[in-house]
């Protein structure tokens, strides 16, 4: 069981406090969170959350199941083993004098990153890519002296056509007197069994 970073992707209802519910749950269940990124989706009431959790397979599966219990979490999958595209963004303010600026520009070009701000003694670099690319660029820029870094968390989408995180139409459940027996039999087959 390796202690790796897992990528959990969740569809959550766009209601106030959802991010708080998710992060509170992860905190109290003692899970190690690397980053959380959340944003709107094409569906007006649903947001997509990308959570990077550190831990072995069993621990992360437990985290996923616990998060699934949160009422506003509509669906949550672990896409670590899926082929996916993962990206994060970083803005880095690097010390740059007239003499070092060229070298920095060279490095930035090699990484296909962008310079988005220039001043007499610094330069701001914007880089998008997977974690390795961003880390590599930062390593190289460190030598010049980094003033500030702002990084987003990772977002990820699986490759190919329909993915495991399908956006479902909201279904209404008719509630009758005899709870819970009268609920329509759910043919949901949970992915693991």
């Amino acid at each position: 069981m390796s202690n790796t970073k897992h990528t959990l992707v969740a569809l959550v209802e766009d209601k106030p406090g959802v991010l708080n519910r998710v992060s509170s749950l992860l905190r109290r269940r003692n899970f190690n969170i690397d980053s959380i990124a959340v944003g709107h989706t094409e569906q007006p009431n649903l947001s997509r959350m990308t959570i990077i959790v550190e831990g072995d397979d069993a621990k992360v599966e437990q985290a996923r199941k616990q998060l699934d219990k949160v009422i506003e979490v509509v669906k949550i999958v672990d896409i670590t083993s899926n082929e996916s595209v993962a990206r994060e963004l970083a803005l880095v303010k690097v010390k740059a004098t007239a003499s070092s600026r060229n070298e920095i520009i060279q490095i930035v070009d090699i990484f296909r990153a962008n310079i988005v701000d220039v001043s007499s003694d610094s330069v701001m670099v914007e880089v998008t890519g997977d974690e390795n690319k961003v880390n590599s660029l930062l390593e190289l820029l460190r030598g010049f002296g980094i003033r500030e870094i702002a990084r987003t968390g990772r977002i990820a989408v699986t490759r190919g056509g329909a993915g495991p995180l399908q956006v479902e139409e909201p279904r209404e459940t008719k509630v009758s007197k005899q709870l819970p027996k009268a609920l329509p039999p759910e043919a949901d087959i949970p992915p693991d069994w």
Binding site: S24, Q62, D68, V74, E168, K174, V175, D188
Partner: protein, 566 residues
């Protein structure tokens, strides 16, 4: 038709079949209280501390299977509910807690009696709501009751600002709930059930561990069906007590830290465990690394997160226990496990830890046993936490489901009296006994006033040993008998009960126990018995912390008892 938020709430509660609310008024809920008389079908029981309201709602829920409702005002009223809500959460009890909140313009400004109760109860509720508009209130109430009572039940809190109670809105009660993120799986996966049946059919030493899930799902017949069809011994968890009649030949008591040694031993030596509606809590398993080393585990539970959380599971089945068992039973081949059964039966004979030893002084175990004899095992027993709880579980035999109501997961002292109140209100025709320790009883003793004002005929037995019993026991066994802050003084319980208006009796003579219990039973109304018992009595067996279930410390061979010196 336009109604105020308060009216909408009352109408919605009635639509949900609510008959009782346990509550305590205050500023933020005044508009609601002013509206209550318009709805005489909603009986409101005034408690003396909001914690008792939450515990009473919990006891009511456990005794009836319906959601229990408690109501408190904002600020301190709401925070006083927290313990009771956490208690309901850990034991999966359907409780709907309604709290008042300061008016919307004041939220977030540290107003008078303002508290972020939704934030505070985030980790201990299944879900909670802060109502921002009266037009949402009916939907919220419907969702709250749906969430509280379905799937794995749990507490739901609704926080309602004062001005929302007064706001007018159109009231239509919704037909359906729309919760895309909440779809409990009710029916087990057929392939998994088939696999489980294969494992059970091939087992040589199977055992069933049945928990509170069986009671919640009302799967008593299905469980009996499985046990009898394949002749599988049944042990329960503490909270599963009553889901399988303890007088049945296949019943082998309950397992765990203070469970029967033979139950623990049977689990340890089994080769297949069918875990039904239980969650492998650490009190039940002992140290997990040594739990049932040779057993394959079939785990049937409605909460997928519990499966594989503590113990590795070989055949997981997510679903409502009753539904799963009904399908499973059809695939079980009728057979016997005579050698195994005889072995477990022999262990039971060899570990008679539940014999009550001969003693001149009054033993707590004796008191419990006599309550059993006088009630003929027919009462609902609501316990506190600690030694009184364990003895009540050990020395009373429970055949009826929902007859043992106890705070297991959170282990809340003070649950006993309000929990018993709630149970009695929910089941007025049943005899309800509250078994309390002198420590826990003092935590919610003020509810004696409620019991009198509402004429709730609970029978109270205080197991009075002048100690915080269970802690003292641990100090004796594991901390070199250093009784730090466990000798506990208390009032003259008889005088206090009578001051509240509850007739009471003190009993310290063994010969007067039965007659005192009968007197309490005959009395039409609440009655309190203060049993002054042997002070340094211990609960056995006990699985010491860090030990495996099979290494339970048992009662030493009984000898003549000498008066313990302090």
């Amino acid at each position: 038709m336009k109604k105020t938020g308060a009216q909408i709430l009352c109408e919605s509660l009635l639509k949900e079949g609510v008959e009782v609310i346990f509550g305590f008024p205050g500023g933020a809920v005044l508009p609601l209280y002013d509206t209550l008389p318009q709805y005489p079908k909603l009986r409101h029981i005034l408690v003396r501390h909001e914690q008792a309201a939450a515990h009473a709602a919990d006891g009511y829920a456990r005794a009836t299977g319906k959601a229990g409702v408690c109501l408190a005002t904002s600020g301190p009223g709401a925070t006083n509910l927290v313990t009771g809500i956490a208690n309901a959460c850990l034991d999966s009890s359907p409780v709907v807690a309604i709290t008042g909140q300061v008016a919307r313009p004041f939220i977030g400004k540290d107003a008078f009696q303002e508290i972020d109760i939704t934030g505070i109860t985030l980790p201990i509720t299944k879900h909670n709501y802060l109502v921002s508009d009266a037009k949402d209130l009916a939907t919220i109430v419907k969702e709250a009751f749906y969430i509280a009572q379905t799937g794995r039940p749990g507490p739901v809190l609704i926080d309602i600002p004062r001005d929302v109670f007064q706001q007018e809105a159109e009231f239509t009660y919704p037909e359906k709930v729309n919760l895309p993120g909440y779809k409990p799986t009710l029916f087990g996966h057929p392939a998994q059930i088939k696999r489980a049946a294969e494992v059970i059919n091939a087992a040589e030493r199977p055992i069933i561990i049945a928990g509170r899930g069986v009671i919640i799902s009302r799967a008593f017949d299905a469980l009996k069906g499985l046990a009898e069809r394949a002749q599988i011994p049944v042990v329960t968890t503490l909270l599963g007590i009553g889901c399988f009649p303890e007088t049945h030949v296949l019943s082998f008591g309950w397992l765990g830290m203070h469970g029967m040694a033979y139950a623990n031993k049977a689990v340890h030596h089994s080769d297949v465990i069918v875990a039904i509606g239980m969650r492998f809590d650490d009190r039940a398993t002992g140290v997990v690394s040594h739990f049932a080393p040779k057993a394959r585990v079939i785990h049937i539970d409605i909460d997928p997160a519990e499966i594989g959380k503590n113990v590795q599971v070989d055949v997981p089945i997510v679903g409502d226990v009753k539904n799963v068992l009904e399908v499973l039973n059809q695939q079980i081949v009728p057979r016997e496990h005579l050698d195994w059964f005889n072995q477990v039966d022999k262990w039971r004979d060899e570990h008679p830890a539940l014999e009550i030893r001969e003693c001149d002084s009054l033993l707590p175990q004796y008191v419990i046993r006599q309550i059993y004899e006088v009630t003929k095992g027919d009462a609902i027993i609501v316990t506190g936490v600690g030694q009184n709880q364990m003895w009540a579980a050990q020395f009373y035999f429970y055949d009826k489901p929902n007859s043992f109501i106890s705070s297991g997961g959170l282990g809340t002292m003070g649950f006993e009296l309000p929990g018993a109140m709630g149970a009695k209100v929910g089941q007025p025709d049943e005899t309800v006994w509250c078994i309390a320790g002198d420590g826990g009883f003092q935590m919610t003793i003020q509810e004696l006033a409620t019991v009198v004002q509402e004429n709730i005929a609970v029978k109270i037995a205080i197991i009075n040993n002048g100690f915080l019993g269970m802690v003292r026991q641990w100090q004796q066994l594991f901390y070199g008998r250093r009784y730090v802050h466990t000798p506990l003084s208390g009032p003259d319980f008889v005088k206090i009960a009578e001051a509240y208006g509850v007739p009471a009796m003190r009993v310290s003579d063994k010969k007067l126990v039965v007659s005192s219990i009968e007197k309490a039973m005959d009395h039409n109304g609440p009655f309190l018995l203060d049993f002054v018992v042997e002070p340094e009595e211990n609960v056995f067996p006990i699985v010491p912390p860090g030990a495996a279930l099979v290494d339970a410390m048992e009662m030493p061979i009984p000898e003549k008892v000498t008066r313990s010196s302090k």
